[in-house]
């Protein structure tokens, strides 16, 4: 018996070693790519190095392909060719583009037109398209000379004209004999002798779509832990290193020297999240903030009090579109949407912050799961 005592102790020790080894979390591997869509994609994933290498190689290819298909700045991309076309031209596109545009149309209908990808000209008119990041040269008849740091406000005749271009119902997306097409119908407007046709801007969804595609890539490689984020716009969270939830903090839409970087915290796992707000890209003239989110109905940047919106749901592309749409909707319609059957049936979680004058009110359907981390914000009664 005495001789067996060491063995009795050795066995649990070996078992302890085994358990501790299996519990140990590996260091995450980080993939970063700042080359596409004006922001940096970042994947923090837990896997073996050879799997990570495969992920990184395929992620590079995938992002490049998305850029070639959906970046309207590439004249040969599906969206670039569509944007360059005139009414009635059938533009052949890939099946992926066709399927994505159908999904956009569903969201356009669901949100009552609040998510509208046909605001290309309005976005350009207000100075928020990508060309304004790199150049201050006047290139179009409606460009204004910069007055100091910012563009003067646009002329109303262009606002009115370009509002008529923002009719997504006039963009047809169809399949014909196994091929896929986009086509614009009756979109032409003429201002000062120059013809304009509707153009698409997928900036409101492409980051969500990219994270969705990369999450599928990760899943196909058996990667189940980590997260994939695109700038501060979209993230797909898997499990954390311990198989549990990540802490999600949302950018404070009114950051300042004395205010914290984030205004709200929650926990997420195996879910997609997207945020939008008037704090990302904007300018101010005479104390009025003009942000990059355009309301197709008014033809102008949104200014209805909602300063930030976050959507948590299973579909990253939809989350990206809906977070923008909620800001366009304004308080009443956003509350109505948040209370809708669609939201409850699909488990969509929503948070939006409203500038209510002296304070900021937070509206949400997940109040029990959030913590507000900036005293200036409080849950609406």
């Amino acid at each position: 018996m005495k001789k067996k005592l060491p063995i009795i102790l050795v066995l649990p020790t070996i078992l302890l070693c085994f358990l501790l080894t299996s519990c140990r979390s590996d260091r995450p591997l980080v993939y970063s790519n700042p080359s596409y869509f004006g922001a940096a994609l970042r994947a923090v994933i837990y896997c073996k190095k050879d799997i990570f290498s495969t992920f990184a190689e395929n992620a590079d290819i995938l992002l490049d392909n998305l850029d070639k298909s959906f970046n309207e700045q590439h004249e040969n991309s599906d969206i670039g060719r569509f944007n360059a076309s005139v009414d009635g031209e059938k533009i052949p596109v890939g099946e992926e583009t066709y399927n994505l545009i159908l999904r956009v149309k569903e969201t356009y209908t669901l949100t009552g037109g609040a998510f509208n990808p046909c605001v290309w000209y309005l976005t350009d008119l207000w100075g928020f398209s990508s060309r304004f990041s790199t150049s201050a040269k006047a290139e179009t008849p409606y460009d204004r000379e910069y007055s100091g740091e910012y563009l003067p406000l646009p002329g109303q005749k262009y606002v009115e004209a370009f509002k008529t271009l923002a009719d997504f119902d006039k963009v047809l997306c169809y399949e014909e004999e196994g091929s896929f097409y986009l086509e614009k119908q009756n979109t032409l407007v003429t201002v000062e002798g120059v013809d304009y046709y509707a153009k698409l801007d997928l900036g409101g969804l492409i980051k969500g779509y990219a994270t969705e595609k990369l999450a599928l890539l990760a899943s196909s490689l058996g990667i189940g832990r980590g997260y994939i984020s695109y700038g501060t716009s979209s993230v797909v969270a898997l499990e954390n290193s311990k198989g549990k939830e990540f802490d999600l903090t949302l950018t404070n839409p009114r950051r300042s020297e004395n205010a914290p970087d984030s205004f709200l915290r929650t926990s997420i796992k195996d879910i997609s999240v997207s945020s939008s707000g008037d704090y990302e890209r904007y300018y101010e003239i005479d104390g009025v903030r003009y942000c990059h989110i355009i309301d197709a109905n008014s033809g102008a940047p949104v200014n209805n009090g909602i300063i930030a919106a976050t959507v948590i749901c299973a579909d990253a592309t939809f989350a990206d579109m809906l977070s923008t749409a909620l800001i366009v909707m304004g308080k009443e319609k956003a509350l109505e949407f948040m209370a809708s059957e669609f939201v409850s049936e699909n488990g969509v979680k929503i948070v939006f912050a409203l500038n209510a004058g002296e304070k900021y009110e937070v509206y949400t359907n997940m109040a029990e799961d959030i913590a507000i981390t900036d005293d200036r914000f409080s849950l609406a009664a």
Partner: protein, 154 residues
């Protein structure tokens, strides 16, 4: 049976050989605990790298708190060690950016580009893999180290 119990009672529980085995087991257990339970020394942020037009132009070592400008780029980089934080100014044909480096973070403090997305939209670099991009001025700032945080910032 009676004989066995009596014999056992007579025996010492700890013989010299047994003690050695127990000590060995204790040592192995402590070593295993150290290796697997005490977190590895992980530096969330070891270096800050600054790129201009995809060329690495400046590296700041967070441990030694010293920066090094890449050869040939001395004319576009200026360092200021006078305050609590270190400020690195990059002046190129594209524009001017200022990177602020604190004890455990780096952020874009200012940029003269149109919307200053890099200042407004990018959260501070706090761990390996964090990145800030200024597209108009072609400046990229990356964090080198380990991604240790459980926090996702959106």
């Amino acid at each position: 049976m009676r004989y066995t119990l009596d014999k056992l009672k007579e025996q010492k529980f700890f013989c010299r050989g047994d003690i050695l085995v127990y000590i060995l087991i204790a040592v192995i257990t402590v070593v295993v605990m150290c290796v697997f339970l005490i977190p590895e020394r992980q530096n969330a942020l070891e270096r800050i790298n600054i790129y201009y037009d995809n060329d690495l132009v400046y590296v700041f070592d967070m441990e030694t708190r010293q920066g090094k400008t890449a050869s040939g780029y001395e004319n576009i980089i200026a360092e200021d060690y006078s305050g609590e934080t270190i400020r690195v100014t990059i002046v190129t044909d594209k524009g001017e950016n200022v990177v602020e480096i604190g004890s455990s973070y780096a952020r874009m403090a200012s940029a003269d580009c149109r919307f200053a997305d890099c200042v407004r939209s990018f959260p501070p670099i706090k761990e390996g893999g964090d990145i800030i991009v200024c597209l108009p001025n072609k400046i990229t700032v990356t964090g080198e180290g380990v991604a240790v945080s459980n926090e996702i910032r959106l």
